[in-house]
Amino acid sequence: MSVIDILTRVDAICNKYDRYDVEKQKDLNVSGDDAFARLYASVDSDIEAALQKAELASKEKSKASAVAINAELRRTKARLLEEVPKLQRLAIKKVKGLSTEELAARNDLVLALPDRIQAIPDGTAAAPKQTGGWGASAPRAEIKFDSDGQFDNEYFQETETSSQFRQEYEMRKMKQEAVGLMVSLATNFDIPQDQGLDMISDGLDTLKNMAHDMNEEMDRQVPLMDEIDTKVDRATADLKNTNVRLKDTVNQLRSSRNFCIDIILLIIILGIAAYLYK
């Protein structure tokens, strides 16, 4: 297996587990200085989002929504343009472990930003970007930009070499980190998973035991229920018999003559009682 294969595979694995590698995250931040890289990354992602939205806007049928999206895009662009000076200031700062080529690369990136931002189509006419971009970078001391295009080629060449260096630097870092990543995966990632799985298995054991016990309890209850069933059936039959007989008896007694006599006697007694208590 050649080195390139190893590198590609390591690359793929690293990409997969990037979010778990705490050290790498820290390095990402440290390889730029914290503020710069973070800010740059955020601005970058904002630009990407804005570009996507611009695409959406261009596809939009209804004018109103297109107008709304364009307005938002303009607002985003304005905000990003404000961020650019901050980035410029951060880019100039020297950080330990950073080569001068890196620094130069950073400056170039920052310079390219305003261009990119302006390039986001927001429905307005394309403003002349180049001059604006170049103009902004004029006050910096290290890399001198004359506003004419002559230096353009050289400028781009420098960026090429610096980006090569950057790539090499990253490759070296990745090779070093590949081994560290494997170790950190083993230690940071698997053990919490194992513990979690252990707890789950314990819980499942308890559940299984409870389920078995419930099953047996149900089996135990079945004959008892059958007994109850027969007894209750007998009781209901008896009740039905009794009710029918009671009904017959009450019907017999209900003959109207007896009823009237009862009422008359009651009235007489009440009359006597009232008389006595008056």
Binding site: S201, D202, D205, T206, N209, H212, D213, N215, E216, D219, R220, P223
Partner: protein
């Protein structure tokens, strides 16, 4: 009826039952009624001794009226009062009598229930009598074919045996539990019972018995296929290797934690005695044949 003095009721009832020149036959019906009333009044008044006597007499009256069910019920009440009084002999006697009366009615279930109540009452004071009662109750149920009810009884019996430190008997009753469970196809209870028995033998530091028990139980298909079997085999192998950590770990495992409380307590205390002694024993047995070879 207005609240009458229970003593007077008793006296009246006694008069009704005592045969004399004027009375040729005892009037048990009324007497029983009076006895029961008096007994209830005594119970409410918390005069347990008198209440107990009244219940006894009421029960006798019910017997005379040939209603064993009521007689048994009265006997049980008398026994409960005796329990409160702490007359343990009377407790067991009354409950036994009640159980017999229930059997007369042809109702084995309440009969065994009565014996179980007696056993529970006597567990703390006279454990020997308690286990006997448990065994009798289980026998009654098994005759009736209701093995499913016996699980709890065997469990309780084995816990009392453990309290008495009669470990072989405890293991035996757990094995009987296993047998009853087998008849009902209650495989989970059966396997738990067998594992419990093995643990009891190990606690008693009787390794040979434990192994024998394990071999016997392995004949049973249901046990062979179960988690408890794995746990038991691991436990036994941990013992042969003298691996105390392993034993402790197994005792904490979920399989053991699902067993009966008493058995769990025993398991947590494993290993008792010297596990390494078992290891050296096993090793010595292997060495001896070699020595003999050397001599010859």
């Amino acid at each position: 009826m207005p609240v009458s003095d229970p003593e007077k009721l008793i006296a009246k009832a006694d008069k009704l039952t005592k045969l004399s020149l004027t009375r040729w036959s005892a009037d048990w019906r009324n007497a029983t009624l009076l006895y029961e009333e008096a007994a209830n009044l005594f119970r409410v008044a918390k005069k347990n001794e008198k209440a107990k006597e009244a219940f006894e007499k009421a029960s006798k009256g019910q017997e005379m009226l040939s209603s064993p069910w009521d007689a048994a019920k009265d006997m049980e009440s008398a026994a409960a009062l005796a329990k409160e009084l702490g007359n343990w002999n009377e407790v067991s006697d009354f409950y036994r009598r009640a159980s017999e009366l229930y059997m007369e009615c042809g109702r084995p279930q309440p009969a065994s229930d009565a014996l179980v109540k007696a056993a529970r009452a006597l567990e703390d004071t006279i454990p020997d009598a308690a286990v006997q009662l448990y065994n009798e109750a289980s026998a009654i149920l098994e005759e009736d074919g209701k093995e499913q009810m016996t699980f709890d009884l065997y469990c309780a019996a084995s816990s009392v045996y453990v309290k008495l430190e009669n470990y072989s008997a405890a293991a035996t009753s757990l094995l009987q539990l296993g047998l009853a469970a087998d008849k009902c196809n209650a495989t989970n209870s059966q396997c738990k019972a067998y594992l419990g028995a093995i643990i009891v033998y190990l606690y008693a530091h009787d390794f040979k018995q434990a192994e024998k028990c394990y071999n016997d139980c392995s004949q049973v298909d249901a046990f062979l296929r179960s988690d408890q079997n794995h746990c038991a085999s691991k436990l036994l192998s941990a013992y042969t290797e003298g691996d105390i950590e392993e034993i402790k770990r197994l005792a904490q495992s979920s399989t053991v934690s699902n067993l009966d409380h008493v058995v769990i307590k025993l398991a947590r205390k494993l290993p008792t005695g010297d596990v390494s002694a078992l290891k050296t024993d096993a090793a010595k047995e292997e060495e001896e044949p070699l020595d003999e070879d050397d001599l010859t």
